[in-house]
Amino acid sequence: MQNRHKKLANILLPAALMTAVLLLWEWYVRHFGVPLYILPKPSQIFETLVLERTVLFSNSLVTVGETLLGLLIAVVAGMLLAVVMDALPMFKTAIYPLLVVSQTVPVIVLAPIFIIYLGFGLAPKVLTVMLMCFFPIVVSFADGMEQIDPNQINLIRSLGAGRLQEYLLVKVPGAASALFSGLKVAATYSISGAVVGEWLSSDKGLGYYMLRAKNGYMLDRVFACVLVVILLSLAMNGLVRLARLVLLPHERGGRRQAPEEV
């Protein structure tokens, strides 16, 4: 009972606050007569969202496709790198600072280089997504493996496990929970990654749509597109939660570890 109340509150309270913010925004724009080209009214944004739904939908498909592909590659590559880092501490020491540093290079500088080597197609957008998602995945998974109780590893060794089995039976499943935390962050921002990629060079997708709407002073469309980006980001987050439930059955119904996860 109490639990269900809590779940309801988890949805209702943010929704109520969101509604309050939107109403305030609507009032502000109406009351001060803020013109469309500066800030559109929420009501106008929703109207546009409905009007433009087919265009937004078809562009969303493109963006979601890029996102999923980029995320998939980031997960596979990130997990592999994390395992190599865990197995070779020297390598980890060497590469960790470079990973951090790589995160501070503005995407805008890298974009032309991506295009030069990957062309204008799908690849550079997928790479942008990958770059954004790679870091949280590697870090969370590597840290998760590092924080595994060494006694668990000793135990499995005492049962006669080799290096490979140590990873398959203890380190990877033991760090899965940490990996999902990183993945949730990565997935939430992955759509934005694809949009930035499209913004920089594209002929379709939400980023392209947004750029065009902006150049045409159609801020209602820009914001409607932002709304779609937000919804898709939340959906990606939900997807990861779902995957967690399916892949980690033992965590189901357990106490929440960090009560307010992203």
Binding site: D149, Q152, N154, R157, S158, P173, P249, H250
Partner: protein
């Protein structure tokens, strides 16, 4: 002698923890190792289990020297260390999983679950079990190893007095059934008296065996245990004297 060590020594970060440690355990014997916290009891078991390499000295099983992991030992660590992501059955069959005998082991494990008080819990996850049940599952995992020496590192350390007492009673009952050579590390003087044929007291820094207490009685129960005050006092004061000396 089933198990023998000769002049074992070990250091952590340049500090000698264990030095000139020699002892022998006969086939089927139950030996307890008592000693103050941090004296090196777990380190000793880890060396036997092949988790830590001895700095010097030799370990012999049935007169043959062994090094690194050997299938002679079944190791039960201080915590239950059940993997939370595996069911109880998968947890207790880990040994089979690692040695290609999973199918056969599962059959044996299923038979053993009721004996270990785990009937009907094979498909549960560890978090769904009580502390005592988890400990028994960890015990079953150890018992299912095809090994002839059991190494138990404070198996009941995390349990409360009553559950602990129950587990001790249970282990006492199992001893005959398992009939295996056992090395038990514990903090608890009473537990050592209750369960062992012989108690070795490890202390000093670097640690070595300082005292040995033999317990010949075969018929044991709580009543008998409550009568062992003299032994208890002897060990308590000895340990206290040792710890005051440092």
């Amino acid at each position: 002698m089933k198990l023998q060590t000769e002049d074992l020594a070990f250091s952590f970060e340049g500090r000698r923890i264990i030095d000139r440690l020699s002892f022998a355990v006969a086939e089927g014997e139950f030996v307890s190792i008592l000693g103050p916290s941090g004296c090196g009891k777990s380190t000793l078991l880890n060396m036997l289990a092949g988790i830590l390499p001895p700095e010097s000295g030799r370990i012999l099983v049935d007169g043959q020297e062994i090094s690194s992991f050997s299938s002679h030992f079944a190791y039960m660590p201080q915590q239950d260390l059940l993997f939370p992501w595996k069911t109880i059955l998968d947890n207790v069959c880990l040994y089979g999983r690692l040695h290609g005998t999973e199918r056969a082991l599962r059959l044996r494990a299923k038979e053993s679950l009721p004996v270990f008080g785990l009937a009907g819990y094979g498909n549960s996850y560890p978090k769904e079990l009580s502390g005592g049940m988890r400990q028994r599952a960890a015990f079953l995992r150890t018992a299912l190893c095809e090994a002839d020496v059991m190494l138990l590192d404070e198996p009941f350390g995390a349990l409360d007095v009553i559950t602990r007492g129950e587990m001790q009673d249970w282990l006492l009952g199992m001893r005959a059934r398992l009939g295996r050579t056992t090395l038990l590390v514990t903090h608890d003087i009473e537990e050592a008296i209750y369960l062992s044929d012989r108690i070795l007291i490890l202390s000093g820094s670097p640690a070595h065996f300082q005292k040995e207490v033999r317990i010949e009685d075969r018929e044991r129960n709580r009543e008998w245990l409550f009568a062992q005050r003299a032994r208890y006092k002897e060990i308590y004061y000895f340990l206290k004297g040792e710890s005051d000396a440092h």
